[in-house]
């Protein structure tokens, strides 16, 4: 599976109570980027360029419909798979799938993590790109806190 990569600032923002992963809490979204992420330097969405919107890709990305549950001392954050379809033109190129908090305003849109597709990809008309969390279909684990 594509490895989870943490933005270093995320843990600080988590400890500062800037993230609420519960379903009734904040909206977390994934967006597509073709810029190489920096774990140490990127902290908010504005630090890491998003691909242009259009042709089936909505600027800002897609809601992962996050939920949070705790059992036996482990909190599990889950999300629903995301599907992008190129319509009327191409989407990309892009290589990275980036998760961020779309609700938090201070700081604005703090980054959480990213996954690397490992090569730049351009979707042609009619083609789709699906991101499945931990191979869950449609819902899977984004992260656990133990």
């Amino acid at each position: 599976m594509a490895a989870y990569n943490k933005f270093q600032d995320f843990v600080e923002q988590l400890a500062l109570a800037k993230h609420d992963f519960s379903a009734a809490g904040h909206v977390f979204k994934t967006y597509l980027s073709n810029a190489v992420p920096s774990a140490s330097l990127d902290a908010v969405k504005a630090d890491l360029a998003e691909i242009a919107g259009g042709n089936g890709y909505t600027a800002g990305g897609e809601d992962v419909q996050n939920t949070l549950a705790e059992a036996a001392g482990t909190a599990t954050i889950t999300g629903t798979k995301i599907v992008w379809t190129a319509a009327g033109g191409t989407i990309g190129p892009f290589q990275y799938v980036v998760l961020y908090n779309d609700t938090q305003a201070s700081p604005v849109d703090p980054l959480v993590s990213w996954w690397d597709y490992a090569a730049a990809l351009t979707l042609q008309i009619g083609e789709t790109f699906t991101v499945k969390f931990n191979n869950g279909d449609p819902t899977g684990t984004i992260a656990t806190i133990a």
């Binding site: 599976m1 594509a2 490895a3 989870y4 943490k6 843990v11 988590l14 042709n55 089936g56 890709y57 909505t58 897609e62 995301i82 599907v83 992008w84 379809t85 319509a87 009327g88 033109g89 799938v97 993590s113 996954w115 597709y117 490992a118 990809l121 979707l123 042609q124 008309i125 009619g126 083609e127 789709t128 790109f129 699906t130 991101v131 499945k132 969390f133 931990n134 191979n135 899977g140 684990t141 984004i142 992260a143 656990t144 806190i145 133990a146």
Partner: protein, 154 residues
């Protein structure tokens, strides 16, 4: 007085805007609302083909599924051909659902048409037998955040 420009709209249910864009093999005219597109060497040529082909009205024989053949042109445009009268038309209006961006072509929605290829352990690409579209499925690993305190002393 500024010259008025007319926006061309597709006759599909979404009335998508018809736009011209540069493609690998010339210029592509496509609808923003459905999957119809045509490609030609020049933008004017592509627009002329669009006008001509999109205006075609299918006959009774054309709309029977058993007579329809869907194929992809070398320029990656999708065309529906009638096996009886040989009419070729654009797949205008094939997209009727928009659910979280998953608006596949009808041929791609049939699992029987999709051939899965395991490219990597985290990546499956389903290729449609009909239109050759690729459908990428990336599986991403969950993060593990460790907040354990193993040694608390008073």
């Amino acid at each position: 007085m500024a010259e008025a420009t007319e926006t061309k709209l597709c006759p599909c249910v979404r009335k998508g805007e018809v736009t011209v864009s540069k493609a690998d093999l010339g210029y592509r005219v496509s609808c923003s609302g459905c999957i119809a597109s045509v490609t030609d060497k020049t933008a004017a040529g592509a627009l002329a083909v669009w006008d001509r082909v999109s205006a075609r009205k299918p006959a009774k024989c054309c709309t029977k599924p058993e007579n329809e053949t869907v194929f992809t042109t070398p320029t990656k445009d999708l065309v529906i051909k009638c096996g009886v009268c040989n009419l070729r038309r654009l797949p205008i209006g094939l997209l009727s659902a928009l659910v979280r961006g998953d608006v596949r072509k009808e041929c791609c929605e049939d699992p029987a048409n999709l051939v899965p290829q395991q490219v990597r352990d985290d990546l499956v690409v389903n290729v449609c037998r009909v239109c050759k579209c690729r459908h990428f499925e990336l599986t991403v690993k969950p993060g593990k955040l460790n907040a354990e305190v193993s040694d608390i002393r008073g």
